[in-house]
Amino acid sequence: MSKLKSAAELKKFRQTILDGRDAGKVCVTICLGTGCLACKGDEVHKAFVEEIRKQGLEGKVDIRRTGCHGFCERGPLVVIFPKEICYLKVTPGDVPEIVEKTLIEDKVVDRLVFADEDGRKIVHEGDIPFYKHQNRIILGPNRLVDPGIIEDYIALGGYSALAKALFVMTPVEVLDEVKKSGLRGRGGAGFPTGTKWETTRNAPGEPKYVIVNADEGDPGAYMNRSVLEGNPHSVLEGLIIGAYAIGSHEGFVYVRQEYPLAVANLTTALEQARELGLLGDHILGSEFSFDVTIHRGAGAFVSGESSALMTAIEGRVGEPRLKYIRTAVSGLWEKPTNLNNVETWANVPAIINKGAAWFNGIGTKSSKGTKIFSLVGNVKNTGLVEVPMGMTLRQVIFDIGGGIAGDKKFKAVQTGGPSGGCIPAECLDLPVDFDELDKAGSMMGSGGMIVMDEGTCMVDTARYFVKFLSEESCGKCVPCREGLKQTLLILDRICSGQGREGDLELLEELGEVMTEASLCALGTTAANPLLSTLKYFRSEYEAHIKEKRCPACVCKELIRYYIEPAKCQACLLCAKNCPTGAITGEKGAIHVIDQAKCTKCGACLEVCPSRFSAVIRISGRPVPPPVAAGTPVQRRK
């Protein structure tokens, strides 16, 4: 491949790609994002290759390996273009039927398409409710691009924003466009991107650096991962445009070593971009030169904090440093450094191409554009969703997410990663943007959204996040390290029934010192899960402390398993599955749990047939005395 030496050559190259492609040709698109790969998506791909060869369709049908489409709950996903027929949960065994029916006979395999609650089949991907309510500026191209083939990205108009920036706009005009767009940092803090760029541009000192923060480490979050894996060129193009605006010639992508596919796809993307002259010296024949190094993170959550990340790139332990002089002015090797999140960079090409006014038209007054969330937890449609800012939590969770799995009741949603807050049902109509989430005691964070149903104990949830943060804090400053340690000890006590009068007030004091006095944002936000659950679910804490009762029946030390004599049908299932032999029972006789032997593993509850539902959990009241051994069951009518 020879280097493209002008905007015209890029345009010509694109036209050559398009001319060589038939838009009407059938293309089988297989999602091979991390979720679908884990569900054997790779084998589905192999099966398609094999079956298409067998049926002699080679050359007549294209196969495309793509990144994450988002509807991970129903993976592996296969979308067949041009008709956009979407098949869900495809197994290698389904492939011969798909090839025969859809590729040869042009029919739909009914059993593999989406069916709504009334059983109505939905064939086209875009009509599925999960996708219908989304606005996928960033994620949308994922399904149209093989991340290993730069031509796919260029065919969609990729790198045209870069050409526009380099040849039509001055760096300051690019910067102004981003400023006017109102784009705010997607990493969590929501700092205005253009203003940050301007600070670095105007800061004295050379060289200047630009960084992609891809150190995504929130439990359950995989937005950045999917963008980097599925469409690495979109991030790279944004980064090059940013570097041009800022006046930087050297960039870094700090990506987690735990994301091997992202590292591999990004490495390929960089090589291909260099080969085409889109990266390196004299990009597209212009005066502008820029190159990128990949830095693989060693797996510390705190390294996602900007100053810690820069310390880590410098080769030292990733610890946040005092930044009264901002990293935009004095960052990497004490040089002006602009760091943005993966998603922030990926927004840039669209803003340059379509203009600030277009971007400004999406979202709310203070938060423009879209935001990607990883919608996980007790929700029906787990996956990645991209919605305009300002959509309500209810719309995201119920219209897109399909509501709570198992049709249980919604209890809370935790937004913003481990240091976000838990938002209760009464706030479901909250529009999701940076400021509204802050006001509710949570935060946007990088876009984690964990949905919890009524079977979740909020004290236990707070304990989970506090434990995560206590292990992932760098341990440098006292409020964060010692505050988290003592908070965890107190929450452990409360969950085990050893809570004391005054604990809640002490927890609030701890929350205050962490929030007010910690060194970095990890510490100042670490108390959010604690303080938000104390605010919205205080009665649950009180039940644990005063009544030694866990209302959700989750905290092991506070619950007992019990077989309701009137419901037990003596099926022996629980007795057979009890690992400690704590259940006595014979055919025809009511089964009884020996509380002294019970380890509360919950196996009995799981195996008791739902038509009996005889095993229950009891919390906060004594277990009724056991029935005499051999008491005959009361047969159900």
């Binding site: 292990e471 400053c477 409020p479």
Partner: protein, 200 residues
Amino acid sequence: METIKLVIDGKQVETERGTTLLGAARKAGVDIPTLCHDDRLAPYGACRLCLVEIEKNGRKRLVASCAYLAEDGLTVRTETEKIRKLRRMILELLLAESSTGPLESLAKKYGLEESRFEIDRPKCILCGLCVRYCTEVKKKNVTCFIGRGIDKEVVFLSDFSNSECPMCRECLPLCPSGTLYSLYLKGFSGKPETPPNKNI
């Protein structure tokens, strides 16, 4: 050298550009407590006891005075009610792990008798003075941190220490929690030394 004028606790203070708020305050006779600060070392900002309130253009916020550089026209308050409360809580957290000299007198100053937290003494409070002194002043790197979060520790790396430590023992009196000497003994296999200072 350029002079900067600011107000610290109501006093007009003049200082050179590049001075920290802590330096400016101490020079003006205003005491700000610290546990991880040493004039010979780069600001670290870990103990958070030196937090002060600054007011600039009508906006107030808390900053670590050991690291924040004095600016013209800044109003600094070093002992507001809020700061006293935060310091008391920080000391209470530390008191659970150590109650030696410097901590005890600070606790007394802030009206603390005993910590409400589970006592687990004596433990290193991770001020990092020994590690930073060895790195920045002696340039030997004999002590280091390992682990992170609540499992973070200071260690002397045994083999390395035996060959590299200049045996200056200058780190030992820096320790505010009184735990360094035992770590030092642990780090040097089988060569217990007498403590250089009885207070440790």
